[in-house]
């Protein structure tokens, strides 16, 4: 399956921050949704602590601050189906793809560079 993975598209959004501590993840996902709504082919790369944004069982923050879990459920509705994660980031945290809410293809560095090269616009959050 890894061999068939398509590593190009119009817009790549790289998500490097975990949910809650900052608004980077939410504002990055918003950018991805808007790009998709504008008819662009959008890919997401979860990297660094950003892989925690994919984790199953997230809840709201203090005072009902939203997490990323509701937004993740919207990705399919917006036809964002190219989800990738940095395999080393996940391994460093000692987590496996089984604890994730959505399936994302694990990538090793050479493929991450290809992914970045394969998109016209790359936004990091």
């Amino acid at each position: 399956m890894q061999a068939e993975t398509v590593l190009n598209g119009d817009v790549l959004v790289i998500l490097r921050h975990p949910p809650h501590g900052s608004s980077w993840l939410r504002e990055g996902l918003d950018a991805a949704l808007v790009a998709a709504a504008f008819g662009q082919t959008v890919s997401l790369l979860f990297q660094g602590d950003g892989v925690l944004g994919l984790l199953q069982g997230q809840g709201p923050g203090p005072l009902g601050q939203k997490g990323s879990s509701a937004t993740l459920d919207m990705l399919a509705m917006y036809d964002i189906e190219s989800l990738f994660l940095d395999a080393r980031s996940l391994a460093r945290l000692g987590l496996s793809t089984e604890s994730l809410q959505l399936p994302a293809s694990p990538l090793e560095p050479p493929s991450i560079a290809e992914l970045i090269a394969g998109h016209r616009l790359v936004l990091t959050f």
Binding site: D49, L52, G61
Partner: protein, 96 residues
């Protein structure tokens, strides 16, 4: 006893080294916000010297979906326990 409060994870920030350098032998360390990632079994080794004086905030573990992934060596407290820790401490120092 001083309560040190850390809101960054060793998986992305090296501020934990400065926090540890500032801790006395009775001091306690509480992981909050994104810092609760430090309670993962893969990360908790960075806090080995803190021994049984390492705490993590339950509400933030839950919000991150990490409550089931927390290392057994970490004492989990809720926000009421957080306040209790500050009451028991002479003062608090926040690391970010």
């Amino acid at each position: 006893m001083i309560l040190h409060i850390l809101n960054r994870s060793p998986s992305s920030s090296l501020v934990y080294r400065d926090a540890l350098a500032g801790m006395g032998p009775e001091d306690r360390l509480l992981l909050v916000e994104d810092g609760v990632q430090g309670a993962l079994p893969s990360q908790v080794r960075h806090f080995e010297v803190v021994g049984d004086r390492l705490f993590a905030l339950r509400e933030d573990l839950v919000a991150h979906g990490l409550d089931g992934h927390c290392d057994a060596s970490v004492q989990v407290v809720d926000v009421d326990g957080f306040v209790a820790l500050t009451e028991e401490a002479d003062k608090t120092v926040s690391w970010f």
